[in-house]
């Protein structure tokens, strides 16, 4: 990343661990120690890592449920309005609001909205796309998408203290710890 005009701001400490298990253990200790502005970085999902860092279950499923219901009601409303109000066609004397035959499109609209919101709200809640993040300045951070398991503690964390946090990470089993700014 390009150099900043001003002095780069301190981001925090980023530690690398040897394995997903080591990262998970360290995350639990970090949370127990009272650190809150923390994050893990791994090439594949490490089960329970986010929870170990103190994250609550995401609202994503609830959002998608609402989106799905909205899609279904929207599909029904569209078909009702078109078939019964805007363009009523008498087909063999059947009612204009012949809801059973609207089910396939209601279903498709539900899936469409729920599916789109699964991806877009996942990205949105994750703050992606985000082209720049200070953690990318960590040496060898390419390994976070290959075979490296990282834990970051931000300088903004109230418990953060350069020397003692570094010692804590070392004690938690970090292979290397870097001070990262950006």
């Amino acid at each position: 990343m390009s150099e900043m005009e001003n002095m780069p701001k301190l981001f925090g400490l980023v530690a690398r661990f040897e394995s997903p298990e080591a990262l998970y253990e360290a995350a639990r200790k970090t949370c127990a120690e009272g650190y809150t502005k923390t994050d893990g970085h791994s090439p594949f999902p490490v089960h329970g890592l986010a929870e170990a860092l103190g994250m609550k279950r995401s609202k994503l499923s609830a959002i998608v449920l609402v989106a799905g219901i909205t899609g279904a009601l929207g599909g029904l409303a569209l078909q009702y309005w078109v078939s019964a109000i805007a363009y009523p066609l008498n087909v063999g004397g059947r009612p204009y609001f012949s809801w059973p035959i609207f089910i396939p499109i209601i279903f498709e609209c539900m899936i469409l909205l729920a599916g789109l919101s699964s991806m877009f709200f996942m990205l949105g809640l994750n703050g992606l796309p985000q082209p720049y993040h200070p953690v990318f300045n960590t040496p060898d951070f390419e390994r976070a998408s290959n075979d490296g398991f990282f834990l970051s503690i931000e300088a903004e964390d109230p418990k953060y203290d350069g020397a003692s946090t570094r010692a804590f990470l070392k004690a938690a089993g970090a292979v290397e710890v870097h001070e990262v700014s950006g």
Binding site: G40, P43, V64, M119, H133, A144
Partner: protein, 461 residues
């Protein structure tokens, strides 16, 4: 399923593992990413791409000719107004369904072996749906006003007829295409980040970097990501069933003899999966050899896919028997006539060829020796592809060419433009798959790494 891993090799004889032993996070990344990044391209890729590109040319030519002259260049007429366009539409969309089945349904069933093939199969879904979509659009006659199918306020004061399964098709196929794309791209994001981080040139790093959206493997991101992926799998599963059911309702809701049966939705869905798995194998068997990926796409994958083909093939055969039974048991003159026409009429040759292709030859898959023989298995997948095409031909043409009124009976055959358009879409599909293999990681790297991780845990215990 018990939670403790069963030592399958010792229980069932020599079943290959889901992943070859000795793989690490790094070797997995290297095997998959280097296909794209190393710059080494097998010569078969050039041949396949060239053949595909010729097919694209053929497609362009036939579309141009069609637009210049209208659908009259096809063999369509009354009574067979649904010829190749619908046959090919159903064939292609069915092929796409294997991708969603592998990526969504097998994911929900926690089938580890799906992981090495899901990305590839999902890409097939996308391109197959694109091929499928071309046919009804071109069949419109005036494809440039295709958007009239969408419900939007217009100066003509017209709205679509929501009671028609053809409009359901528009919604189902559009939704299917969009959701398949979303599912595929969501699965790709972490791998694009891997590609970005492994890329050696600035261009590759920038391009993969843009599409990776700044993914940094954050634990909080993974948490939401896994929820989203599970939701997408859960949504795609009923979607895939609904899409081919809706396609089958195009037929079943009509009153044409031979079409108006309740077996159609399940029978179509099974046929779709059958054809789709055949197509996945048609591609997978050569591709894993070209790119030396046998340690990730093992014999286990090939074996399992062949078994699924066998199972869905039997469901399809059951569908054929049910159709015959419906014809007989209905006691309706026209239904009986359609069945007699099917077995002994002018298109009986196509029907019995279909039975040989779909019903008889695939029974060879009961034999383990056949499933393990790459060449024979590959040939069987081609036979199934042909068989499933013939099935749609039989359904579309045989019912239409002799319906209620003998005075309007007629024979149907595709013209050279029908064939060229069809071959053109096959070329387009091949070309698109080659482009995908060349520039996108064709195996889900992060999911294979999860398997490596699970295996290492199992080994530790």
């Amino acid at each position: 399923m018990a939670n403790e891993p069963i030592d399958r090799p010792s229980v069932l004889g020599e079943v290959s593992p889901v992943i070859a032993p000795g793989q690490t996070y790094e070797t997995v990344g290297a095997s998959v990413a280097d296909v794209v990044l190393s710059g080494h391209v097998p010569k078969q890729w050039y041949i396949a791409t060239a053949v595909g590109f010729m097919g694209v040319g053929c497609l362009m030519m036939s579309i141009t000719w069609l637009l210049l002259n209208g659908v009259g260049v096809w063999g369509l007429n009354i009574p067979v107004a649904w010829g190749f366009a619908i046959i090919n539409f159903v064939w292609w969309i069915g092929i796409g369904h294997a991708g969603t089945l592998i990526s969504a349904i097998l994911f929900l069933f926690k089938q580890q072996w799906r992981t090495a093939i899901n990305r590839f199969a999902e890409a097939m879904t996308l391109f197959a749906v694109a091929c499928a979509g071309m046919f009804p659009l071109l069949h419109l006659g005036r494809p440039w006003v295709f958007y009239w199918l969408m419900p939007y306020p217009n100066t003509m004061g017209l709205w679509p007829q929501f009671r028609s399964p053809l409009i359901w098709d528009v919604f189902a196929v559009t939704t299917y295409l969009i959701i398949s794309l979303v599912f595929w791209f969501t699965g790709l994001i972490p791998d694009l980040a891997t590609m970005r981080d492994r890329a050696k040139t600035k261009v590759a790093r920038t391009v993969f970097g843009i599409f990776a959206l700044g993914w940094r493997g954050s634990a909080r991101h993974w948490h939401r990501y896994e929820i989203a992926y599970l939701l997408l799998a859960g949504l795609s599963t009923p979607l895939v069933v609904s899409v081919h059911s809706v396609v089958s309702l195009d037929f079943a809701i009509s009153l044409v003899p031979g079409w108006h049966t309740t077996i159609f939705p399940p029978y179509f869905v099974a046929g779709a999966i059958y054809a789709g798995f055949a197509m996945v194998l048609t591609f997978m068997i050569p591709v894993r050899k070209w790119y030396n990926l046998e340690h990730i796409i093992t014999d286990r994958h090939i074996d399992n896919m062949a078994k699924i083909m066998l199972a869905t093939g039997l469901i399809v055969v059951y569908g054929y028997l049910t159709e015959a039974f419906f014809g007989y048991y209905s006691g309706a003159l026209y239904e009986e006539a359609v069945m007699k026409n099917r077995y002994f009429g002018p298109y009986a040759f196509q029907y019995w060829l279909l039975i040989i292709c779909n019903g008889i030859i695939p029974q060879l898959l009961w034999l383990r020796r056949i499933r393990m023989n790459a060449v024979i298995l590959w040939l069987i997948t081609l036979v199934v592809g042909v068989g499933m095409w013939l099935e749609r031909f039989v359904i579309v043409v045989q019912s239409l060419h002799r319906d209620y009124m003998p005075s309007s009976w007629d024979m149907y055959a595709g013209t050279k433009w029908d064939w060229m358009l069809y071959i053109g879409t096959i070329g387009f599909f091949l070309f698109a798959m080659c482009i995908f293999m060349r520039w996108v990681p064709m195996i889900s790297i992060f999911e294979i790494r999860e398997i490596v991780h699970k295996k290492s845990q199992e080994d530790d215990n």
